[in-house]
């Protein structure tokens, strides 16, 4: 190992030789050598990730150069995977780079991925993203996902357990592949190179954390970044297995009834909570040798409820009837407890 080359990161607390050795032994596949892939590949090679596979079947175009920073004007119309590998060999000859000039699909994915311990999704289309998601899930391989849309980006780490032992995949967020035409990509919507650079670097940073065991990776979470507002937003992923499919054509009445059901369930939960509280109060009354029925107390309470009901524009007779019935049930509950003991 060339200590001088990695001296500045070897100095870091908790980093050291052990972490560096883990990086040198790691086998990482970067799928897509574009706006995300270029910075990710560059920083991983610079940090000393020993084996880097680069998969891309595309050629370099002039409009790529503002963000695909491994390439230069003289590279136009050359292959991306070949050129990226060539640049890394020149800059970091100690790193083993492997080119895969192929479009990864559901037939070849398992074979290509098998040689790597970690995959980075730097693609620019849903078809390949879902192929990688399915293949990594099948092989239980960590997938570091990144994507952009105009001034925003997303990063996540899939198939890696968080501190509670939960892991997730892209399909746990978006179970079905979106309509490619409806979602903006860089070619149609535009993108600024710095944004893909930030997201690609966030992906590379997650890869280094995962390989070395430093810090807390974005396992079971998705991070959104907005470059114009300088804001990060982290959300925990909950598996979509128990998904209720929203029926978007459902009529308004059915949806409103759904709302009513949810509200009714809330009322039931509150009544159950109230019953428990009433029981506790009953025990306290018994300790203090008080009667179950405290007429004055109830009179005060019901007056308060009626006043509050008026404020909420509720029918006071209706509210009085409900609370009288609740009161009776509370008395029954406390007397039951009284006699029971």
């Amino acid at each position: 190992m060339n200590y001088q080359l990695y001296q500045r990161q070897l100095l870091l607390p908790d980093f050291g030789l052990v972490a560096q050795k883990k990086l040198l032994e790691a086998k990482v596949l970067v799928v897509g050598a574009g706006g995300l892939g270029c910075p990710a590949i560059l920083y991983l090679a610079a940090a000393g990730v020993g084996n880097i596979g680069i998969a891309d079947y595309d050629q370099i175009e002039e409009s790529n150069l503002h963000r695909q920073i491994l390439f230069q004007a003289s590279d136009i119309s050359k292959g991306k995977a070949e050129t990226a590998c060539h640049k890394i060999k020149l800059a970091y000859p100690q790193i083993n780079v492997i080119e895969h000039v192929v479009r990864i699909d559901e037939w070849n994915a398992a074979n290509i991925l098998a040689d790597y311990s970690l995959v980075i999704d730097c693609t620019d289309n849903f078809a390949t993203r879902y192929v990688l998601d399915d293949a990594c899930k099948a092989q239980n391989k960590v997938l570091v996902y990144g994507s952009v849309s105009r001034y925003e980006g997303q990063v996540a780490v899939f198939n890696l357990a968080d501190k509670d032992g939960n892991s997730s995949c892209y399909r746990d967020i978006f179970p079905e592949i979106p309509n490619e035409a409806a979602i903006q990509n860089c070619a149609e919507a535009g993108v600024i190179g710095v944004l893909t650079g930030i997201i690609g670097c966030l992906q590379a940073n997650e890869v280094i954390k995962i390989i070395t065991g430093l810090g807390t990776p974005l396992a079971n979470k998705i991070l959104s970044y907005h470059s114009l507002h300088n804001s990060f937003y982290e959300t925990q992923i909950v598996k979509a297995e128990t998904t209720d499919k929203p029926n978007q054509t459902a009529d308004t009445l059915a949806l409103l009834r759904d709302d009513l059901n949810v509200l009714d369930q809330s009322i039931l939960q509150l009544l159950a909570k109230r019953k428990n509280l009433v029981r506790t109060i009953g025990k306290e009354k018994k300790k203090l040798n008080l009667d179950v029925v405290q007429a004055q107390q109830w009179e005060k309470t019901i007056q308060n409820r009626i006043f509050e009901a008026q404020q909420l524009d509720l029918d006071t007779d209706f509210i009085k009837a409900i609370f009288d019935r609740i009161h009776q049930a509370s008395i029954n509950e406390q007397e039951k407890h009284d006699h029971g003991n």
Binding site: C122, S147, S224, E234, T235, Q236, D244, P246
Partner: protein, 76 residues
């Protein structure tokens, strides 16, 4: 009130990235409201995140909650 945040294309279609709505409301009912008001959203399979937890089922969004609307991004 519920604080709502929209990301990516959703914020572009709705033309704001943060706003407030009255609580409570269920996820499916609010989704329906959004789709009725902004039909362009129908093409985008966005998910709800309540208090930074992705929610796929219909849940009641309570007062003081933070709701995020997350679309998928494909660019790279």
């Amino acid at each position: 009130m519920i604080q709502v945040k929209a990301f990516g294309q959703l914020a572009e279609i709705i033309q704001k990235h943060e706003w407030e709505i009255a609580a409570p409301i269920s996820c499916f009912a609010y989704r329906k409201q959004l789709l009725d008001t902004y039909p362009a959203l129908q093409e985008i399979p966005f998910v709800f995140s309540i208090n930074r937890l992705i929610v796929h089922k219909d849940e009641l969004i309570l007062d003081q909650s933070e709701l995020a609307l997350l679309p998928p991004f494909s660019g790279g």
